[in-house]
């Protein structure tokens, strides 16, 4: 048990370190922070002064060491574009993003799980078929297009809802949350349906029925517990993916001041420090969610507590 935990936490550290390294190399080795951050045609003296000021002239190893050291202390430097502490800017925007992503993923995901488990019990029903088609369409739809179409219908044509802007009121948040929730819904629906129908084919379900349990009892007491692991894993994974992925686009379309839009703008501005801060926060968030999923797996499935694996045959 302890060994597993230590290994898992080591993995967490490696993952974060890897994310830091890739970002660092992309910004400093592949690109040049000065070219990214300064306007075209900046005189050479200004470029030199910029590089000197931020230590970009040191060799990469030194820079990376310094970056790591500062990062551990929570210091990501000052934003070039907005001024002030880069990490501070990220944390300022965090609540706005969470306000959209958490309800979207939990709402959409849980609805997907519910409908998925209903469809798994009646796989040939009209509901199941309809939801299947719907989930495939949803997965194939570009969120930004959907967002625009919703704006076109609800805000431009029938002007029920505002087109965009930051205002934590339900009528403002409903469209972005709706767009963000669709994919978690579809993914969880498909996964729940697939794993539950696989589970229903297993002998222990037949044995449970042979005991005299009702279908409801079979589902609640036996099947759901066994599908909980993949479903919760996916939910947490989706939360991470939406948080740093889809949210960027939706925030841009709806002009929502979350960290996604901050990241896009930071990149446009070539604000190396701000970009690094956003990436680290995003990586931390996703890696923590993954860790959480693994711990959950560990807690619910007794088999993992006695990891007995024969390596070869």
């Amino acid at each position: 048990m302890a060994r597993y935990l230590i290994g898992r936490i080591a993995q967490f550290v490696i993952v974060i370190g890897g994310a830091l390294l890739i970002t660092f190399l992309a910004l400093h080795l592949v690109a040049d922070p000065a070219i990214l951050g300064l306007p075209v045609g900046t005189p050479q003296e200004a470029v030199d002064a910029f590089n000197e000021k931020h230590g970009f002239n040191d060799d990469l190893l030194t820079q990376f060491g310094r970056f790591l050291g500062d990062a551990v202390r929570g210091d990501f430097g000052d934003s070039l574009w907005l001024g002030g502490d880069a990490l501070g800017h990220v944390f300022d925007r965090l609540p706005a993003t969470l306000m959209l992503t958490v309800p979207a993923v939990l709402g959409g995901g849980l609805l997907g799980v519910t409908l998925g488990s209903i469809s798994a019990r009646r796989p040939e029903s009209g509901l199941a078929n309809g939801l299947n088609v719907f989930s495939y369409s949803v997965i194939s739809i570009a969120e930004f297009w959907l967002a625009i179409m919703l704006v076109l219908v609800f805000a431009v044509n029938i002007t029920w809802l505002p087109t965009a802007g930051y205002d934590p009121k339900p009528q403002v948040m409903i469209l972005p949350i709706l767009v963000l929730s669709l994919r978690p819904f579809a993914q969880n629906f498909q996964l729940t349906q697939a794993t539950m129908s696989a589970e229903y084919g297993k002998p222990y379900v037949l044995a449970a029925r042979a005991k005299g349990l009702s279908e409801g009892q079979v589902a609640r007491r036996h099947v759901l517990r066994n599908v909980a692991v993949p479903v919760v894993t996916l939910l947490l994974f989706e939360l991470g993916r939406v948080f740093v992925g889809t949210a960027i686009i939706v925030e841009i379309v709806f002009a929502w001041p979350g960290i996604g839009r901050l990241a896009a703008n930071a990149l446009f501005q070539g604000d190396v420090f701000l970009v690094q801060a956003v990436v680290v926060v995003a990586a931390l968030a996703t890696a923590s969610l993954n860790l959480l999923a693994d711990l959950f797996y560990f807690a619910i499935d007794p088999r993992t507590r006695h990891l007995v694996g024969v390596k070869e045959r």
Binding site: I14, V15, I22, V30, F144, W145, L152, G245, F268
Partner: protein, 284 residues
């Protein structure tokens, strides 16, 4: 095998429809720009924001954009970019990922451990953010986009192929072939690869669709294809400012994207179902 596939198809008209759509889209994205005598980039100020002809405008079949350019032609060129980026990125991911998955699944050990850590990093890494950083660092451009998208998708193939190889290893095929005296490369490429290729191929259709979406999304927020290259994402983005007056720009570009992606996704998920290596073993 192929007879079985045809029989499957017969029972699934929706897949036939999806295949037809994909073929039609590919064909027209190649043919329309060839046939058309219009210029996709040159502005025609007299024809700015004309509605489609069937909606009472003078903009041809799908209308014109804010610079008076023909939307049908631009959308077809955008589709071409989508298909090209999707295909090359998926192919790159498939080739690299299949090789890595094959080797890591077969040999295990250090190679395998490193690969699994890499995949973990990728899973924990904010995908689109990473792509944005890399595209920005590589100074944009279609080639950069393909390379970046390809280099994030290979891990998925590696994972899938690796687990297919591991499943195959639990059967006695590999042991039996070793027992015949086959060399390791022969076992890998003559016996193992054909049996896991199906998994990779059906994954290709699915990643192809995902890559098309990713390209459009990136171009939409300005990190993807840059003018003069045309992307559905950038057409869609340019239509946002005229949403209240010229709805057709964003609507049609997105609709075509949806058609392409949905069809490939349907084909991909169908392929995944029918080429499941286990269904081959059980025969029938």
């Amino acid at each position: 095998m192929s007879g079985r596939l045809l029989g499957e198809l017969y029972r699934r008209p929706i897949i036939v429809a999806a295949m037809t759509v994909v073929i039609a889209l590919v064909a027209s994205s190649i043919l329309v720009p060839l046939i058309s005598d219009l210029d996709a980039s040159a502005p025609r100020l007299s024809k700015r924001l004309e509605a489609p002809s069937w909606a009472g405008g003078d903009g041809g079949l799908l209308g014109t954009d804010s610079l008076g350019r023909d939307l049908l032609l631009r959308i077809m060129l955008g589709m071409r970019t989508s298909f090209a980026v999707g295909a090359f990125a998926a192919l790159m991911g498939a080739v690299v990922g299949t090789l890595v998955g094959l080797i890591s699944g077969y040999f295990g050990g250090v190679v395998d451990a490193v690969l699994m850590r890499l995949t973990d990093i990728e899973l924990a890494f904010p995908g689109i953010l990473l792509v944005m950083v890399l595209v920005r660092a590589l100074d944009r451009g279609v080639i950069a986009l393909v390379i970046v998208l390809g280099s994030i998708s290979w891990m998925l193939y590696a994972r899938v192929v690796r687990s297919a190889v591991l499943t195959l290893r639990t059967t006695e095929l590999v042991t039996a072939t070793t027992g015949l005296g086959a060399t390791t490369p022969r076992i890998l490429f003559v016996h193992v690869l054909p049996n896991v290729a199906a998994a990779a191929v059906s994954l290709m259709a699915v990643t192809f669709a995902a890559m098309m979406l990713a390209e459009a999304s990136l171009s939409f927020i300005g990190f993807g294809v840059q003018p003069p290259d045309i992307s559905l994402g950038s057409i869609l983005s340019s239509g946002r400012d005229y949403l209240s007056t010229s709805w057709w720009i964003s609507t049609f570009s997105g609709l075509f994207l949806l058609l392409g992606v949905l069809s490939t996704n349907l084909i991909g998920s169908w392929l995944q179902r029918v080429t499941d290596p286990l269904s081959i073993h059980t025969g029938s």
